[in-house]
Symmetry: C2
Subunit: 394 residues, 2 copies
Amino acid sequence: MTLIQEKVKQAVNLLKEFGADCWITFTRESQINGDPTLVFLAPSSVTWHSAFIISTDGKTHAVVGLYDQKTIQETGAYDNVVGFVTGFKEPFQETMKKLSPKTIAINYSQGSEICDGLTHGMYLTLHGLLSEIGLADRLVSAEKIVSALRERKTAGEIAAIKDAIRETQEIFDKAAGFIRPGKTEKEIAGYMQAEVERKKLRLAWGESTCPAVFTGPETAGAHYTPTDRRVERGHVLNMDFGVKVNHYCSDMQRTFYILGQGEKSVPADVRKGFETIVRAVESSKQAMKPGIQGIEIDAIARKILVENGYQEFPHALGHQVGRFAHDGTALLGPQWDKYAHKPFQRLEEGMVFTIEPRLTVPGRGVVTIEEMVVVTKDGADWLTTPQTELLLIR
Amino acid sequence: MTLIQEKVKQAVNLLKEFGADCWITFTRESQINGDPTLVFLAPSSVTWHSAFIISTDGKTHAVVGLYDQKTIQETGAYDNVVGFVTGFKEPFQETMKKLSPKTIAINYSQGSEICDGLTHGMYLTLHGLLSEIGLADRLVSAEKIVSALRERKTAGEIAAIKDAIRETQEIFDKAAGFIRPGKTEKEIAGYMQAEVERKKLRLAWGESTCPAVFTGPETAGAHYTPTDRRVERGHVLNMDFGVKVNHYCSDMQRTFYILGQGEKSVPADVRKGFETIVRAVESSKQAMKPGIQGIEIDAIARKILVENGYQEFPHALGHQVGRFAHDGTALLGPQWDKYAHKPFQRLEEGMVFTIEPRLTVPGRGVVTIEEMVVVTKDGADWLTTPQTELLLIR
C-alpha cells in the first residue's frame, strides 16, 4: 500500500472517529498556495481548482483539472476522479448533491497552522458553491481530522524520520572536526550545507537558518541567520539543524564548548548549564505518555531551569516533526496566547516530538540540546541518541 | 537598494494609486502556509504570527516574533519593528489603533491565487483582533496592490528571468543531443534534471513534471509525469521545462521531430502543425501592448488554430512568470469559469508572459511552443529566442 492509499484509508476511519460525514480538501495552484494536507492525498501539485472529498461511507472522490486527472486516478486511492476543462463548479456541485452530507469538514483553524491550508478566497468560493445547493451551513473545521492524520505516524513515516536523524548526526559529527577558533558561524553553516549537498539530501527548513549556528554570548536567538562572528576559546557554540529523507524531517540541536587556552576540562559554569539541560531533557522524556497534556511536560523542563537559577526559555519545550520540521497541532508548550489550544492537546501514540530546552551561561553563550522522541503505547522512546556530553573543541 | 527595499517602496506608491490607507500581510509558520507575497517583504520565513503593515503615509511597520525581529530590522525596509514573546495581540492592536486606517487591504482573492495568501483561520483571527478595536469593517481585498507588486517587474527581476531563460535554452540544446529513438520519456527527464543539478540550479516547478516530456500520439497532456514510453521514429516529441535563477523562473516548451526511417525532411502534416503554432505565437506577440486585455490576445492564437483545422487548446494561451512559473493575475486566456476575471485584466508595462498554443497532429503527437515576452511601453519584446524550426532528431 502506498503512503497516499494508507493515509486516505486512515482518513476514512478518522471521519468516523470524529463524527464528520464528509471532509473536503480544496486547493488550486498548489505550488503557490499549497494546503499542507495535499501531500497526503495527491502525489504532486494540482493546478486548477481541485477538491479531494472523503466520505464517511468510505467512498473517495476527486474533482480536478483535466491535466491532473490521470495522476490522481493512478494513485488508486479514489473511487471516482472527475477531470474538468472549463469549470469546476458543475462536477463539484453534482458530487456534493449526491453525497448531501450533514457535516462538511474543511481545512481551517485559528489555533493550528498545519490544519489551516484553505485560503480565505477559496473559503469564499467554496461557501458560495455550497450555498447554491443548500449545504453551506454544514461547514465545520477539519482540525481534528487533519491533526490526527499528520500526527499518528505510520511505521514508514517513523523509518524515514530515523533515516533523517542518522544523516543529521553524521553531519554534526563531521562538523565537530571542522569547528575551531577563528572559524565564522557562516563558514560552519556553509561546511554543513556542503555536506547536505554531497549526500544529495534536502534541508529540513529554509537555508538561511539551517543550520542555525550561534557562538558566544549575546546572540539574537534560535531563528537567526549565521553571522561573521568568529568562534572563540572559552565560548559555548550551539547549532540547530535538520535534513529531509523521503520527505520527512529531523530537527536537532547540539552544544559545543571551545576549551580556553591551556584549559583541561569544562569550567564549572558551563558544566552546570549543560547538565541542567540534559536533566531537563531526560525528565521531560520520562514523563511523556499517551493522555498527558503537552503543557505538563513543558512545565517539567521549565521548572528544572528556574530551580537552578536560569531564566525560562522564551519558546515551547518541544514541537512535533513530520513533513515539516514544525508539524502537528499538539505542542509541549506553555499557556501563551500565540500557542492557542496546542499545549492542551493530549499526547497520542505515534506522535514525534522534539525536546529542546535552552539556557544562557553568562559570558559563554547559549546551551541548548534538541532531541527527538516518539510517543509509544505507554511512554516515549528516543529517536535520537541523546547528547550527554559537551562536544569539546580543543 | 535591495529587492525588499525596492518592493516595499513600490508598495507605498501602489497604496496611493489604488486608494488604500493601509495594507497588511498577515502570516505565521510561513514555511507551512506561506503567503506568496512574503518573499517581497521579508528575507526569510517567519515563525509566529507576523504582520507587515504598510501605510499610505509611507510609514512601514512589522510585528513579528522575537526571533525574527533582528532579521526584519536588518532589511532596512521598516520604520518600526516590534518583536514579541508571548502574544501578538497587544503590539498589533497598538500599532493599528495609532494608524486607525479607513481601509485595510488584506491578501485574499477568489479570482487570483497569487493574491490569496491569507488562510481562512488567519482571516478569522485578524477579523477578531480588529473587531475588538472597531476596525474590522474596514477590510478589503489587496488583490490590486499584490498583483501590481508582482507584475510590474523591476530591471533586476527581468535580468534574473533572462538568466533563467539562458540556462534553460542551454539544457534544451544539450538534450537534443541525448534524445534518440528508444530513449524513454523518463530517461530524457532524468538527463535534463542531472544537468540542472550539475549547473547548481533549481527547477522552476515540481520535479515530477519539470521537465514534462511527451512523445508520440495520445499522451495525457501538458501536466503529466514522464513515462516509460519510448521515442519512436515519425513521432513528435515536446518538452515543458524551466529553472530558477536568483528566485526567478523561466518556463519554456520546445518541439522535436524524430525523422522516420529513410526520411529526409519533415512530412507535410507535421510541418503544417508546427508552422501554425509558430504563426500563432508570432501573431499573438505582435498584438501585445499595455492596455489590451489578455482575452483579446488569447483569441488571436485560438482563431489561427481553428482556421487551420485544429482543435482549440484546452488551456490559456499564456500566463505570467516571476517567482513562480505561474505568477500574477492578468492572463492571456479565454472566458472560462476557472479563469475568473483574469483574462479581462489589462496588460501593463513590465509584465512577463508566456505564449504557449498547442495542437495535436493525429498519429504523430503534440506540437507546442512556449515563448516568453515582456510587455514594453508600446508593445512586447521577446525574452526567449523564439523557436522557428523543428528540432530534428535523426
